[in-house]
């Protein structure tokens, strides 16, 4: 019988590892990792993703064991592999399982044939947030999401931080909070699950843009201009996709943007930085060990914005820079010429 003495973490990336250490202050933690190396790091070396492991954390490669031991689990798998791992869990997942994911990206639901063709536009039906994917693929209903300014490196140094857990279920928020809260970690609750998922994913785009500003040494005025304006774009598209504006102004939105837009330890920031320094997307991908969700998100959001006719000049510019070989400096020059007028147009 599963109980709440042990909490599961699915994925042993840097965020999963940080989360496991946080939860270990309240419960025993069982981490599922695919790579034997990560399992050994946690169980034997007691250090994973540059973070020392809390003594209550144990790792396994047996997904069944995790599902059967834990009713509460935190999947932290990159969106590109999320479904694959989920499908392995499916046979062991029941309606009393609770999944609170920490993945800031989307799943595209298009057929293999459609993928072969050049997708021009995407509707809301064609993308799933991770909670939507969980609901679709499994019998789990009690889903939630954790998001906020949580740079793994800082969490591992025991620096104070906070996050928001979103779910339609009070129970999920309550249990998630019980698992994570400590003297160094605050947990807020939200009912706007979609909004929190969108805010977390969309902010990666802003981190990319901000990285480029740093690389081009355009200064803090330019960064503030770009961040604020791209936040407007993110909110406009986020509303179309079903998020609440208020959510974007909280920890999962602005909170996360502030942390990632000025931090070189953010993966998305680094991608934007290297891109502006002239590296191609392929070169960046070839030399990164962890996934920068922002790259996929930029493409998805560009296609969605085209479908819903939402004006997103900054996101489009990033898209052309990443995927169409337009130099970042040229993109930014174009942006400065763009006829913006109203400053804040996303709040009535």
């Amino acid at each position: 019988m599963s109980d709440l003495k042990t909490v599961g973490v699915i994925g042993a990336g840097s965020f999963g590892t940080a989360l496991a250490n946080l939860i270990a202050e309240n419960y025993d933690v069982l981490v599922y990792a695919r790579r034997v190396e990560a399992i050994d790091n946690i169980n034997i070396k007691r250090e994973n993703a540059n973070q020392p492991m809390h003594e209550r954390v144990r790792a396994t490669g047996d997904i069944k064991e995790v599902c059967e031991t834990c009713t509460l689990m935190f999947p932290t798998i990159p969106s590109a592999y999320f479904r694959e791992v989920l499908l392995q869990m499916v046979p062991y997942l029941r309606p009393d399982h609770i999944l609170i994911h920490g993945t800031k990206g989307f799943h595209i639901n298009v057929s293999e044939e459609e993928k072969e063709e050049d997708i021009k536009e995407l509707g809301r039906d064609s993308i799933y947030t991770m909670s939507e994917l969980i609901r679709r693929e499994t019998n789990v209903i009690r889903v939630g999401c954790i998001s906020g300014p949580n740079l793994a490196s800082e969490l591992s140094q025991h620096k104070p931080a906070g996050a928001v857990i979103a779910s339609h279920f009070d129970e999920v928020i309550r249990l998630g909070r019980n698992a994570l809260k400590s003297h160094r970690f605050q947990v807020y609750g939200s009912k706007d699950l979609t909004g929190v998922e969108l805010a977390g994913s969309l902010k990666n785009i802003i981190a990319l843009a901000s990285g480029s500003i740093s690389a081009l040494e355009l200064g803090e005025n330019a960064r503030a201009l770009l961040i604020t304006k791209s936040l407007g774009e993110v909110i406009r598209i986020g509303r179309v996709l079903g998020g609440d504006v208020k959510t974007f102004l909280g920890l999962a939105g602005i909170g996360d943007i502030i942390a990632t837009s000025s931090s070189t330890s953010s993966r998305n920031f680094s991608v934007g930085y290297r891109m502006a320094k002239g590296e191609t997307l392929q070169q960046i991908l070839d030399t990164s060990d962890e996934v920068a969700e922002g790259i996929n998100t930029v493409e998805i959001i560009k296609l969605l914005a085209d479908h819903y006719r939402v004006r997103v000049p900054i996101i489009s510019t990033i898209y052309y820079t990443l995927f169409k070989g337009v130099p970042a400096s040229e993109g930014l020059r174009q942006l400065m010429k763009y006829p913006f007028d109203v400053d804040v147009d996303f709040i009535d």
Partner: protein, 574 residues
């Protein structure tokens, strides 16, 4: 996905045999024999729920005062014939009692006790008002007398049909046509609790579905009937004894609503099959319900939880009865009240104003003439049953097993577990109900039998909207006669595109086409639609003019019938 046909299509003359021949074994009868005990259960559980909501004496007294105030207003402003004669005295008396209780100072214990007693008395008052009075002899009488009347009205030998199949010949004299797996419903109704949730567009729906339940051989269901209907004595006499309980939509305060909910929860928990119209009232716009009233559906989730608790207490967790949900989409070519409904819809659009429940059938004569017109004038009626599912949208097999989306058996008790144990969580149940509402809405659409009349109305109105895309809806409804004409060639081309799209949707399991779609070529199908759409309204809803082009004498009615196909994203094919 649509349920594959599991039965041989065969035609039964008359009704299907009753699944439980002995009325005294029906859940509804068993409940009526322990009426006193049942009333006490409702009162106790309502009390418990309300005391949770109003935990202090002060909060409780406030709520009692609000209720007494609202009830006295109702009696002066919205009195109905169905209200008991001594109601005014009852509430006047309670008002005096409330003043006295509020005046008790210095003895909080006594004040608390008296406030609780007053709450108890109000709950008891409401319970006795709501509860029905099933009478097997009246039921037997009605089920023998009605078929006679019905078959006269329908001029046919009533037949019942299983899932219609293309290959199957079918006699045109049948007025009611059943689509769906009736055998599974019958099987499940033997050992589980069935809730039928139909779409609602006319006052005759309750009679149609009530009749269908009888024809399917199911024991009587309880159903909520508007208190206003009880103003007609003869009608009141019968419906109360056929399983109806009273619902008073004027009463919106928590004490009444909680009592009503507890009534439904306890009845379901006791295994009594139940019929709800989850849309609340008739669809004014003619659309299939998009949003449901979740209150009564919520009682199903609560009852399912109680079933598990009870089974566990009895040491036999496997014995818990399952609550089975069966959405039914009822389709008509002709809705008698359409002109009134669409008017009310247009008046209310954009204003969200409260629609006063009108007392349209205040006399027996009006009611009877309505029924007469309906059954003499109406053409075929389809009742399309979605596959049986549990409260979480999992399909249920005839032996009561829930099957998840991957085809694996799933134990739905798990939905109520926290940390491995059954745990009551009202907020969680509330979320489950929302999800259930979404599933029911989807099933209503997926199992909707589209009629030729709906399709031609849809295309005609959508073409006008497209032609006058700069006009708002109200301008279009006022279009002069000459602007309403659609050249036949354009019209038939658009119908063809929409029809083909409907066939695609059907392949995806998102709609159902009836036989007349496949029997007719395009022109005949259009003619079939024109011949049937709102046939007996005074003005012609849709017709061909002397040049053979398409036009309408009443655009509001056209809008009403058009709306039936809203929600299928068909506009782009027009």
């Amino acid at each position: 996905m649509q349920q594959p046909v599991t039965n041989d299509p065969k035609e039964h003359k008359g009704s299907l045999p009753p699944i439980i021949p002995d009325i005294e074994q029906w859940p509804i009868y068993k409940l009526s024999t322990k009426r006193y005990e049942f009333i006490q259960d409702i009162i106790n559980s309502t009390n418990a729920q309300l005391l949770k909501s109003f935990p202090t004496t002060e909060a409780l007294l406030d709520e009692l005062a609000r209720t007494v105030y609202q009830e006295r207003i109702r009696l002066t402003e919205k009195a109905w014939k169905a209200d008991p004669e001594d109601e005014k005295e009852y509430w006047d008396e309670l008002k005096k009692r409330l003043v006295r209780i509020s005046g008790i100072t210095g003895d909080p214990k006594r004040q608390e006790e008296e406030a609780k007693e007053m709450l108890n008395s109000m709950i008891s008052h409401y319970t006795n008002e709501i509860i029905g009075n099933f009478d097997p002899s009246i039921y037997e009488f009605a089920s023998r007398a009605l078929p006679f009347g019905f078959s006269r009205l329908l001029r046919s030998n009533l037949g019942i049909k299983f899932k219609e199949k293309l290959s199957q010949q079918f006699s045109t004299h049948n007025r009611f046509i059943y689509e769906g797996d009736l055998e599974t419903i019958r099987e499940l109704a033997k050992s589980h609790t069935v809730i039928i949730v139909p779409t609602h567009i006319t006052n005759l729906d309750s009679m149609v579905i009530g009749w269908a339940i009888h024809e399917m051989g199911l024991p009587a269901f309880i159903y909520g009937a508007g208190l206003n209907l009880f103003g007609i004595r003869i009608l009141a006499y019968f419906i109360e004894r056929l399983g109806a309980y009273k619902v008073d939509r004027r009463k919106k305060h928590p004490i009444y609503l909680e009592t009503l909910k507890e009534y439904s929860t306890q009845a379901l928990h006791d295994g009594v099959h139940s019929l709800f119209f989850p849309g609340g009232t008739r669809s004014r716009s003619g659309e299939i319900e998009k949003r449901l009233k979740l209150g009564l559906l919520g009682t199903a989730v609560d009852a399912q939880y109680l079933n598990y608790v009870k089974a566990e207490k009895e040491g036999n967790p496997e014995s818990a009865k399952k609550i089975i949900v069966v959405p039914v989409t009822i389709s008509y070519h002709f809705v008698l009240e359409a002109p009134g409904l669409i008017d009310e819809h247009l008046k209310a659009t954009g204003k969200e104003q409260y629609l006063v429940e009108n007392d349209r059938f205040s006399t027996s004569f009006k009611m009877l003439s309505f029924i007469w017109k309906f059954f003499t004038k109406s053409s075929k009626i389809y009742l399309s049953y979605a596959p049986c599912m549990d409260l979480f949208g999992n399909q249920v097999t005839p032996d009561g097993k829930s099957i998840d989306k991957r085809g694996e058996e799933i134990d739905i008790k798990n939905y109520f577990l926290s940390g491995g144990e059954l745990k009551e969580d009202q907020q969680r149940n509330g979320e489950y109900v929302k999800l259930l509402g979404d599933v029911i809405v989807k099933k209503f659409h997926d199992y909707n039998v589209v009629f030729s009349s709906h399709m031609v109305s849809y295309v005609a109105f959508a073409m006008l909207k497209k032609r006058f895309r700069r006009h708002d809806l109200y301008d279009i409804l006022r279009l002069p006669k000459e602007d309403r004409v659609i050249p036949y060639a354009d019209f038939s081309a658009a119908v063809e595109r929409v029809r083909d799209r409907i066939y695609e949707l059907e392949k995806e399991g998102k709609i159902i086409t009836p036989r007349h779609f496949h029997e007719n070529g395009l022109d005949d199908l259009i003619q079939h639609g024109l011949d049937n759409v709102g046939l007996y309204h005074n003005a012609s809803t849709l017709m061909r003019n002397k040049d053979g082009d398409i036009t309408s004498e009443d655009l509001k009615l056209l809008l009403f019938y058009h709306n039936r196909l809203e929600g299928y994203q068909l506009a782009q094919y027009v």
